[in-house]
């Protein structure tokens, strides 16, 4: 026991020292992105499915559901979004289901830059963050100047977090330096504002490429790596998220710096969300088990979790009509 306490103490002070060192960015050696760690498709899919064999019951399930709720980036990213819709969504973010006392809020709401001002005003001092998708979201098919100006516009309107997309075309061409520089430039514009880098894994094609893109993003300054825009299918899957979590772990081993993770799109059921949490817990450990280090990008997941929570509380499922759709 004594040995264990020492171990933890040593580890954490050690980790801290590393992080301080990282603050001086010159000390991170940038690897050669042509040679990133290979990923075995069969192995990674098998491992991902193993997490779904965990049986999550009672207290663990309840805590997991509440945690998942608290990790949601409630999202609306449509051309037809209106001020009214965003305001409604913000109210929902703060009051998920008032019939159930003591619920947490979601982590953030995720909108286009033009809606940031409305969202900021609606959320007030609730502590819920406003994330803006920038950089010619979702395709990223524009010049760097436009992407930077898009980012600055979102920041000027008060965005707490920026979700950028990588240039998948350049990445697939093998122009890794271009992708790296672009992320670094956006991060530079963000300053202390946390930057989520969307890899759009559905367009990358292989796990090897997901791994490569994750490494490029992290070394270029990403605070989060995020799977998808939600506009392309497939969006987040468990194996893709696993590859990214393992990349985060290796980056942490190498630099002592924690990177956050956000799977987005396709996670609409609480059971699946719980399996993601199992995976997070068993790959990165408890330090990542909070909404600073992990988010779900989702719109319909919240209601499914609420339904499950009510079922846990009352013992019966309620009609979806009892849960607001925003």
């Amino acid at each position: 026991m004594a040995e264990k306490i020492n171990k933890e103490k040593d580890c954490s002070t050690f980790g801290l020292r590393k992080i301080n060192m990282i603050a001086d960015k010159k000390n991170i050696a940038i690897p050669d992105f042509r040679h990133t760690a290979p990923v075995d498709q069969v192995g990674v899919e098998e491992r991902a499915s193993r997490f779904t064999k965990r049986s999550i019951k009672k207290e663990t399930k309840l805590n997991g559901l509440l945690l998942a709720l608290n990790m949601i980036d409630l999202t609306t990213l449509e051309g037809k979004d209106s001020d009214g819709k965003v305001k409604q969504l913000c109210y929902k973010a703060m009051h998920l289901h008032d019939a159930y006392p003591g619920l947490p809020t979601v982590a953030a709401i995720c909108v286009y830059p033009s809606m940031v001002k409305v969202a900021k005003a609606a959320l007030g001092d609730s502590g819920i963050k406003v994330a803006a998708v920038a950089t010619a979201f979702p395709s990223g098919q524009s010049s760097r100047a436009v992407k930077l100006s898009d980012t600055r516009f979102a920041l000027a309107n008060g965005a707490d977090e920026i979700d950028m997309v990588i240039s998948r075309g350049k990445f697939l061409q093998g122009e890794y330096n271009y992708v790296f520089d672009e992320i670094a430039a956006i991060k530079d514009a963000c300053g202390d504002t946390r930057l989520k880098v969307i890899l759009e894994t559905g367009e990358l094609g292989t796990y090897d490429k997901v791994r490569k893109a994750s490494e490029i993003a992290m070394y270029a300054g990403a605070d989060f790596i995020k799977t998808s825009t939600g506009k392309i299918s497939p969006a987040a899957t468990m194996p893709v998220t696993l590859v990214m979590l393992e990349a985060i772990r290796d980056f942490y081993y190498a630099t002592g710096k924690r990177i956050a993770m956000k799977p987005a799109g396709g996670i609409s059921k609480s059971k699946l969300a719980l399996y993601y949490l199992v995976m997070l817990n068993e790959v990165l450990g408890e330090a990542w088990m909070n909404n600073h280090w992990f988010r779900f990008g989702a719109s319909s997941l919240a209601n499914d979790i609420l339904m499950q929570l009510e079922k846990e509380r009352t013992g019966v499922y309620q009609s979806p009509n009892y849960f607001s759709i925003d």
Partner: protein, 493 residues
């Protein structure tokens, strides 16, 4: 631990990974009788020896049931029943009819899968997740597969006629009790032989449950006889004059005794014995998946696997990285009650086996190897062992040479391909090996040079009824599974 920190490694914290709310499979879903007799000639009969022995749950040390001890007279009776069934019904039956029976057994195993899984876990100590997801479905698949061969033997052996041998005496181990019974019985029946099978004394219950199914399936009496007992019972089967074929899975020591006993007789034999498999990680391997393969290789079924990847060779340039990942991964293994659906590593099969494993762990420390065990707490009752790895192991260490048959891994590093090929083959065994690399040509080079019956590339402990399994050297001879698995049960004319 202090060593790890000196090497400037960061260890992740996983305390919360082990605290899932218990999800216990219900015992009441399976029926275990208080007493089991011998299954001879289609009926459960009291042993002529009048003796019984207890089988216990290794996770709680509770007695599960009392099981008959077959003496010499009982073995004679079982062999006679098998002989009569062979001469009078089974060898004359059209192959397609035989297939129907085998198929029926497969279906009934599937129908009672949950009950089988529960009994397997209670009696043997393996995690319910493994018996549910691996042992039982794989056993059913084995029967399905050989049901298909029964009426197609002429295609298996073109231009030859495959004749059955007669009565097969089959002795199986305690690590995969139901699955090993399936491996033995299915090909024997498909080729037209009759069977006297003896399960291991610590794990007889699923074989007896299988006997109930065989009874229910209306298999002609005597075609399959299942008799329980210890080493003496096995010896009586091996030495019985009216047995035509011995199929044995178990330790190399017993395998040698059997070989001596049948020397000079007409008995055919397949022996599937021990192993000390090399699992080889090259620096270009997908490391996270390789670590998963190491875990699966040595901690699957508490390491009670004859083909377990118990010697790990890691290429020097990725050695530190792999060990770090491996240690972090070990911390997430949940060790405990095998009936909990979240348990990854269950109970050691018996007190004796636990003592053997502990003796080797002590030996490893004495030999100067560096031990690391996961920080998990072990249950107070029952036979449990922490997942254990040894680094700084020498090829001459006994923990690198002898089969431990437990969750204990001996790790060495290597530099060149030739070096690792030499080291991997430098063993008395030759059952299996694992190779991890992203380069296809390297896989083919290595597989052709490994003196091992099964070589897995970028995976480990994968089984399929269509794939033959068996050893080189002191790991035995003969193949089970696939088309090859038919051959030991036929004579070709």
């Amino acid at each position: 631990m202090s060593k790890a920190i000196k090497k400037n490694t960061i260890q992740l914290k996983f305390d919360s990974a082990r605290v899932y709310e218990p999800a216990i499979e219900s015992k009441s879903a399976a029926k275990i009788k208080p007493v089991y007799d011998l299954f001879i000639n289609g009926k459960f009969e009291k042993p002529l020896s009048k003796k019984y022995f207890n089988t216990i749950n290794p996770a709680s040390e509770e007695i599960l049931s009392s099981v008959a001890m077959a003496g010499k007279a009982d073995v004679n009776k079982a062999v006679l029943a098998a002989r009569n069934a062979y001469e009078r019904t089974w060898k004359k039956m059209p192959a397609a009819e035989r297939a129907k029976y085998i198929y029926r057994i497969a279906r009934m195993i599937q129908e009672k899968a949950r009950e089988f899984a529960i009994i397997e876990t209670l009696d043997g100590g393996k995690p319910i997740r493994e018996s549910r997801d691996f042992d039982v479905p794989t056993a059913a698949n084995h029967f399905f597969y050989y049901a298909g061969w029964a009426d197609k033997l002429e295609y298996a052996f073109p231009n030859r006629k495959a004749m059955p041998l007669g009565v097969a005496g089959q002795i199986i181990p305690w690590n995969f009790p139901l699955l090993m019974a399936a491996w033995k019985i299915a090909p024997a029946l498909a080729t037209g032989n009759t069977v006297v099978l003896k399960p291991a004394e610590t794990t007889p219950l699923t074989a007896l449950k299988l006997a109930e199914i065989i009874q229910e399936a209306d298999l002609p009496p005597g075609v399959v006889n299942i008799i329980t007992g210890a080493g003496d019972t096995g010896a009586n089967i091996v030495n019985h004059a009216d047995i035509n074929k011995i199929a044995f899975t178990g330790s190399t020591a017993v395998g040698k005794i059997i070989q001596r006993a049948i020397a000079g007789t007409n008995k055919k034999a397949t022996l599937e014995l021990g192993g000390k498999a090399a699992n080889i990680i090259f620096d270009d391997a997908p490391l996270d998946q390789a670590v998963e393969g190491i875990i699966n290789g040595i901690f699957f079924n508490q390491g009670h696997v004859c083909c377990a990847g118990s010697r790990l060779y890691v290429q020097e340039s990725v050695y530190e990285q792999v060990i770090q990942k491996l240690k972090d991964r070990m911390e997430t293994l949940i060790v405990g009650n095998p009936m909990d659906k979240n348990t990854d590593v269950g109970a050691i099969n018996s007190r004796e086996q636990l003592a053997t494993i502990q003796r080797y762990i002590k030996l490893g420390n004495q030999e100067g190897a560096e031990m690391y065990q996961s920080a998990c707490a072990l249950p107070k009752k029952g036979f449990f062992c922490k997942p254990t790895i040894f680094t700084n192991v020498a090829q001459s260490n006994r923990i690198a040479q002898e089969e431990i048959f437990g969750p204990v891994l001996a790790i060495q590093s290597f530099r060149t391909d030739d070096e690792v090929i030499e080291k991997a083959n430098n063993t008395a065994f030759g059952l299996s090996a694992g190779i991890w690399t992203d380069k296809g040509s390297k896989i083919f080079n290595l597989t052709s040079k490994m003196r091992a019956g099964v070589v897995w590339a970028n995976t480990y402990n994968k089984f399929d009824p269509t794939s033959p399994f068996g050893g080189y050297k002191e790991s035995g001879y003969g193949r089970e599974g696939g088309l090859h698995g038919l051959f030991p049960y036929v004579k070709l004319v």
